[in-house]
Symmetry: none
Subunit: 114 residues, 2 copies
Amino acid sequence: MDGYGQYFKALRESKGATLREVERQTDVSNAYLSQLESGKVKQPSPNTLYRLAKFYQVSYEMLMEKVGYPVSKSNALPKDQSISSAAKNKLGEISNEEEVELLQYLKFIRNRKS
Amino acid sequence: MDGYGQYFKALRESKGATLREVERQTDVSNAYLSQLESGKVKQPSPNTLYRLAKFYQVSYEMLMEKVGYPVSKSNALPKDQSISSAAKNKLGEISNEEEVELLQYLKFIRNRKS
DNA sequence: TAGCTTTGCTTGATATCGCAAGCAATAGAT
DNA sequence: ATCTATTGCTTGCGATATCAAGCAAAGCTA
């Protein structure tokens, strides 16, 4: 039903921040953040996305694209590219052990579908 | 008080188009276009701006900026991150949904010890 | 146990987007 | 002069973004 709600939640929790912590740093209310993460928001404004992008240290354009806004240039870019960079940002500090587990889990995910 | 309203009107008139002509080509209602040109709209959505940009043959980003949305002129993120190229290669093609699951699983891994 | 604090969440309110429908003025055609 | 189509515009409305306030559960602390 919702797509990027889970993503924002994962972003926040991977940073170990609370809703109110994000609120303090971004001036986006914890009420709205909660709705955002539970899929009750359709398209947060670019202004909001920009604040979150800076706090979570991910690409603003990537967030724009993720919530469905047109992003002129990256129309030509494959979608996996921006996702890859997002993953790179979030997974950039993983240890070798964690990497192995993630890769195994990725296999598990993919086998689960077919 | 109205900044870009005049601009949109100038764009349309320079093309010799009527409100309803623009409506036909962009699926933006003539009612809304009228409000837009008379400064009664604060921030038209990126979706709307994109349609108008294409019709008027101007830059989408320029319109975004004109209306007051943040436009990251320079990428806030470095291109190359200190991630193992192995993981980068293997994770480079993960999908949207897979990324979410991986981030959640990574959080699970890290909390498993405590 | 009782009392603060934190955390995620819900709810009511406000503001804006964007449109369908309609209106007054103008232009053209007969 | 009358009819018809076009044009710009206003208005009322549903949908959505965003927040302030508050609430219940859980965690600390005394």
